[in-house]
């Protein structure tokens, strides 16, 4: 027996490198073919790739804008307005849905039979129907069926409800914004309720008993002992619900609320710049998703058990 080197195709390391090279090669081929097709098709349509169109005049109106906007402004300004509108719904939605979800999750475990079952009905109805349908319902069947502004319904004297949306003493929310916000809040809230319930149930019973035997009232025991421990289980899935809510703001287009997706698709309709618009949309949402993930991961780290 000679002590020669083993044959190269008997070596695992060789095959690992070959396999990866093949993968890269295949990916490159696919990209080249697709890119070639794209170039050819765009040429046929007479469209040039480039982001110059962002500096052109948008010449469409946007229903509601927090910053100054007029149709003579540029596309990039219009997209900013859309982004701010998206963020407005997402932030308000995340805030409200947390309240609704945590409330419903705790109510699901109430020792009151009626409270428990009403919440269960809420969760099962809202979780098992499409969000888009709920948005359409809120907008067309609820807000548009309200009376005109002149004879608005007054709730507790300071909230006015009419076709013009929700009128609070210091500002008015448009019906589009209100429908989107309510739809997202209650839909996501139903999912969060289940997450919170699961989290609370995952805390061992002994913790309850120990807290009670220390003389803590049920409310305090929940706040000081049970909930902080449940948070460890709750936060990771809660993060993905926040991400879902943020991505779902793009359904605004169904009810005509001018969010980033709405503005971007109007831009596409006017300019035909499909590739650029898609890239902008993807970049925006990826940035939003990444930001939320990072923030929630930081929060998650602060509630995890510190192992010393």
């Amino acid at each position: 027996m000679t002590n020669s080197k083993p044959l190269i195709w008997r070596d695992v390391r060789f095959w690992r490198i070959v396999l990866q090279l093949v993968a890269v090669f295949l990916a490159v081929i696919v990209v080249v073919i697709l890119w070639g097709n794209l170039q050819r098709n765009l040429q046929q349509l007479g469209i040039q790739f480039g982001f110059d169109f962002l500096k052109q005049q948008a010449s469409f109106d946007i229903g509601e804008a927090l910053i100054n906007y007029k149709p003579t402004d540029t596309y990039s300004h219009a997209l900013w307005v859309g982004l701010i509108n998206s963020l407005r719904v997402a932030v308000a939605g995340i805030f409200l849905t947390t309240i609704v979800g945590v409330g419903a999750g705790i109510a699901r475990l109430s020792d009151n039979w009626l409270v428990r079952n009403i919440t269960m009905v809420y969760v099962e109805i809202f979780r098992n129907t499409p969000l888009l349908l709920q948005l359409l319902f809120w907008y067309f069947a609820v807000f548009l069926s309200f009376p005109k502004t002149e004879n608005k319904i007054s709730l507790w004297g300071f909230i006015g409800v009419s076709q013009n949306g929700l009128e609070l003493p210091w500002f008015t929310l448009s019906p589009e914004f209100s429908a989107l916000l309510l739809g997202l809040t209650f839909y996501t809230g139903a999912f969060i309720a289940e997450i919170v319930r699961g989290g609370i149930q995952s805390v061992p019973k002994g913790q309850w008993e120990a807290a009670r035997s220390l003389g803590l009232k049920p409310g305090l025991a929940m706040r000081l002992v049970i909930f902080p421990q449940a948070l460890r289980v709750i936060i990771p899935p809660l993060t993905s619900q926040y991400l879902n809510l943020t991505k779902n703001t793009s359904l605004a287009i169904a009810i005509g609320y001018p969010d980033i997706y709405f503005v971007a698709s109007t831009t596409f309709n006017q300019t035909g710049k499909a590739v650029e618009v898609i890239l902008l949309i993807m970049l925006t949402y990826l940035t939003l998703s990444l930001t939320i993930s990072v923030v929630m991961n930081l929060f998650n780290r602060s509630v995890q058990i510190k192992e010393r």
Binding site: A23, L34, N41, D111, N112, I118, R127, T129, L136, Y285
Partner: protein
């Protein structure tokens, strides 16, 4: 007896002063809501829009003379579903109460729904098939199980053939596939097609080859970071640009492509969970037996991983089923799309609440029953 009820009441509704307060508040709320809904449903709502358009909601503009093909499809799919349910839940014997409930529901459906005579006959036949299928699945579990996946696989092209026609049947173009039919079809086709891609992506993500792993991670994370409507937009607008000029995909196929691209990324994450749940010892044992990597994955890892992710996949299917409503935004006439076009008819303007409640109920029935089944399946698989 009355004493029992009183203790129950005291324990569950009036245990403390604030619980009593809550109970009263809930009762008032409930009374107010139920009264409002009943008054609206009986006096203000006009349900004619549902009655007149029922076939439109269910199958859209599918030619009326070819409805028998849809009935056969329904019979095949439901019988297979019943057999599958029977295999999984057959151990719980059919109770008298279960049978009675089933018969009652069928009876109510047969009597209440405004259908013609042939439809009622078909429904009755399907009900019988459902019952027999469930019984068969429970009784002959051992014989049926190995054939089940093959039967499902076979049923797929047959169903598509029956709906689409061709090969001796009168062809029906895809823009006539509407309503609930399209919704179900899109969800089923997308989940089935996204399954192999999802498994490959999951294997790629857990692979030890850095290039393969990074490709998979990149794909999964990008798709999961973007809203579905963005992906559908991409599929409708960009796909034709990426393909060479002589390949023309119609609207339905492009939508399927979008849904599959989207769903594969989520499927990959579900399957990855399953892959991680397979104990390392299994892989080591397989390697010790002399199996190479491909065989280890195919014969040892995947069968165990996939079994544990069945409930997660059912959950994903429910999500996908709901998400098909977004197709109405890219011009497809599935259940939500057809609702919107019915609402555009001049004689039904403003009947939003009736129509949306009705299709909401359809979505709900499907999603809720699937989630019930999935929960029971989870319990079954865990012991």
């Amino acid at each position: 007896m009355t004493n029992d009820k009183l203790t129950w009441l005291r324990k569950n509704l009036f245990s403390t002063w604030y619980n009593s307060l809550l109970t009263v508040a809930c009762l008032v709320l409930l009374f107010w809501a139920v009264r409002g809904i009943i008054t609206w449903a009986t006096t203000q709502a006009q349900w004619a829009v549902i009655q007149v358009n029922l076939p439109l909601f269910l199958v859209g503009r599918f030619p009326q003379t070819l409805y028998w093909r849809i009935w056969i499809v329904l019979a095949i799919a439901l019988t297979l579903a019943a057999i599958t349910l029977g295999v999984f839940f057959g151990k719980q014997q059919l109770t008298k109460r279960g049978i009675a409930l089933f018969a009652f529901i069928i009876g109510v459906v047969l009597v209440v729904l405004p259908l013609d005579f042939t439809s009622r006959l078909w429904l009755l036949l399907i009900a019988v098939l459902l019952f027999v299928g469930f019984w068969l699945g429970g009784k002959f579990t051992k014989v049926v199980t190995p054939w089940l996946s093959l039967l499902w696989l076979l049923s797929f092209p047959i169903i598509l053939w029956l709906i689409g026609g061709g090969f001796g049947l009168q062809p029906v173009s895809t823009n006539l596939w509407n309503g609930l039919l399209l919704t179900l079809l899109m969800a089923a086709v997308s989940i089935v097609l996204s399954f192999p891609i999802g498994v490959l992506l999951a294997l790629g993500r857990t692979s030890t080859l850095p290039v393969v792993r990074w490709f998979s991670i990149l794909y999964i994370e990008i798709v999961r970071g973007v809203p579905l409507i963005g992906i559908l937009f991409l599929a409708q607008v960009m796909l034709p640009l990426f393909l060479s000029a002589d390949v023309r995909l119609d609207r339905v196929l492009r939508a399927i492509a979008g849904l599959v691209l989207f769903s594969a990324a989520y499927m990959a994450e579900n399957v990855r969970g399953g892959l991680q749940s397979v104990p390392r010892g299994q892989i080591e044992a397989a390697k010790a037996l002399g199996l190479n990597t491909a065989l280890v994955i195919l014969l040892i890892v995947l069968p165990q991983a996939l079994r544990t992710v069945i409930p997660a996949i059912v959950g994903q299917f429910i999500g996908l089923f709901k998400d098909t409503s977004l197709l109405s935004l890219v011009g497809l006439v599935e259940l939500t799309g057809i609702a919107r076009s019915i609402l555009a008819q001049p004689q039904f303007i403003g009947r939003y609440a009736e129509v949306y409640l009705f299709i909401g109920f359809i979505y709900w029935v499907f999603c809720y029953s699937m989630s019930l089944a999935s929960r029971r399946l989870e319990r079954q698989l865990s012991n």
